[in-house]
Amino acid sequence: MAEGGGLRVEGLKSALAGPFTLEVARGAVLAISGASGAGKSLFLRMVADLDPNEGEVGLNGVSRASLPANQWRRRIPYVAAESGWWAQTVHDHFAPNQLDRARSLAERLGVGAAPFDGPVDRLSTGERQRLALVRAFILDPPGLLLDEPTGPLDPVSVQKVEVFLQERLAAGTAIVLVSHDPAQGARLGARRMRMVDRKLQPEATA
């Protein structure tokens, strides 16, 4: 399975959703829209292997089943719509050798030094979201699963995140993102699909 580049999903299903079969080439982005509860997050979580599922998934020719789950997720991180935090301050969420890159990346996405060195509970929702993205971006992964990455962001921040995503795409990352904004998909040059009743279908007016 999964020869060549990009993300390949084949017969991915669970008791709750699917089956899904699709491909996202290297440097391509798939934007999924759909009503809440339709199964968008479920799909991303199944690809990340965070929910029980069956089916074949591979990234750049490496089958998911051949890797321990944590190594798989390291290659294609999943960033949830609601960010989770496990330490007091933001910089405690990064390994010491990642700190400099994380800091400059946060600054690029419009999060200054003060929030970065402060306690997590002082952050605004938008700052949290961008910092959660930074945690995934600094892994330089070949794939990304982003659940409403710019949901709580203001237009300026949205643009900053999108510019960064464009760079990742140019570098060959395969991205699947959930987005309610059709214009975002268009700006990123995404293939668009709609989740209806836990199944994916091509966007009608693509």
Partner: protein, 261 residues
């Protein structure tokens, strides 16, 4: 030894009546609960007294084992019942049962075959009493540690999944919870040991002294028991936390909160 007569006990029960009187006077609404608890206590203890007398008279290893198993099963049920969120199905009972079994067996057998060495080693007078004391500690530590893991995983589920989503392995993501649960599980025995003799006279020691034993002999028993209880607490906290964490994950290192009710 000074034997107590029923009259002595009735006299002492007037203190319960005093408590009830306070409850009624201050409208604490506790008098019903209080008298029910007191009645239960009396019935339970009298029943246990008869059962123990019977088991001691039998002096049969199977009968001893049977009562030990019943006591352990009750402790296991209590441990599994503690967390607000419980495991679906029988997993909770399986976890607490294994915990009680392992922690109690290891420490009780160690004590009965090395330090205490009654003849025969399963002499119910020693075995049943020892298991009873150990179970108290196992129940305490086991339930605190289990509650720490289950409650902690539920509370921190977003943070744990955020780490899993970034490729952090399950063990690393849940290590702070494991540490916290073990800490909680070991606190009671640490308190008990540091308070022993200063703030409280441990029950066993008091009992033996009243029953006529030389204080130094009683103290030696108490020290041995404290070590046993510390061991049992440690084993119980570790086993219950480890098994609960395993049950909350799977071979693909997912966080399986769906296995909780």
């Amino acid at each position: 030894m000074i034997s107590l007569s029923p009259t002595d006990l009735v006299l002492a029960s007037s203190l319960i009546a005093l408590d009830a009187g306070v409850s009624i006077a201050l409208r604490l609404q506790l008098h019903r609960q209080l008298s029910w608890a007191a009645t239960r206590m009396v019935i339970q203890l009298i029943a246990v007294g008869f059962i123990l007398r019977f088991i001691f008279a039998l002096n049969n290893p199977l009968a001893t084992l049977a009562i030990v198993v019943v006591m352990g099963a009750i402790a296991a049920r209590e441990i599994a019942a503690r967390p607000v969120r419980k495991f679906r199905g029988l997993a909770g009972l399986a976890i607490s049962g294994a915990t009680v079994g392992l922690a109690t067996l290891v420490t009780a057998i160690l004590a009965l075959t090395t330090a205490i060495r009654p003849h025969p080693w399963y002499d119910p007078r020693y075995a049943v009493s020892l298991v009873g004391i150990i179970l108290g500690s196992v129940l305490n530590s086991g339930s605190l540690a289990l509650d720490g893991i289950v409650g902690g995983v539920w509370r921190e589920r977003t943070a744990i999944e955020a780490q899993l989503g970034l490729g952090v392995d399950f063990r690393t993501a849940t290590l702070p919870l494991l540490r916290e649960a073990l800490r909680r599980g070991l606190l009671p025995i640490i308190n008990q040991m540091s308070a022993a003799g200063l703030i409280t006279l441990p029950g066993i020691m008091t009992g033996q002294i009243i029953a006529g034993m030389d204080p130094m002999e009683a103290v030696k028993y108490q020290i041995l028991l404290m070590f046993l209880l510390a061991g049992a607490s440690g084993v119980a906290a570790l086993v219950v936390a480890e098994l609960a964490l395993r049950r909350l994950s799977d071979t693909r290192q997912r966080l399986r909160v769906d296995r909780l009710k």
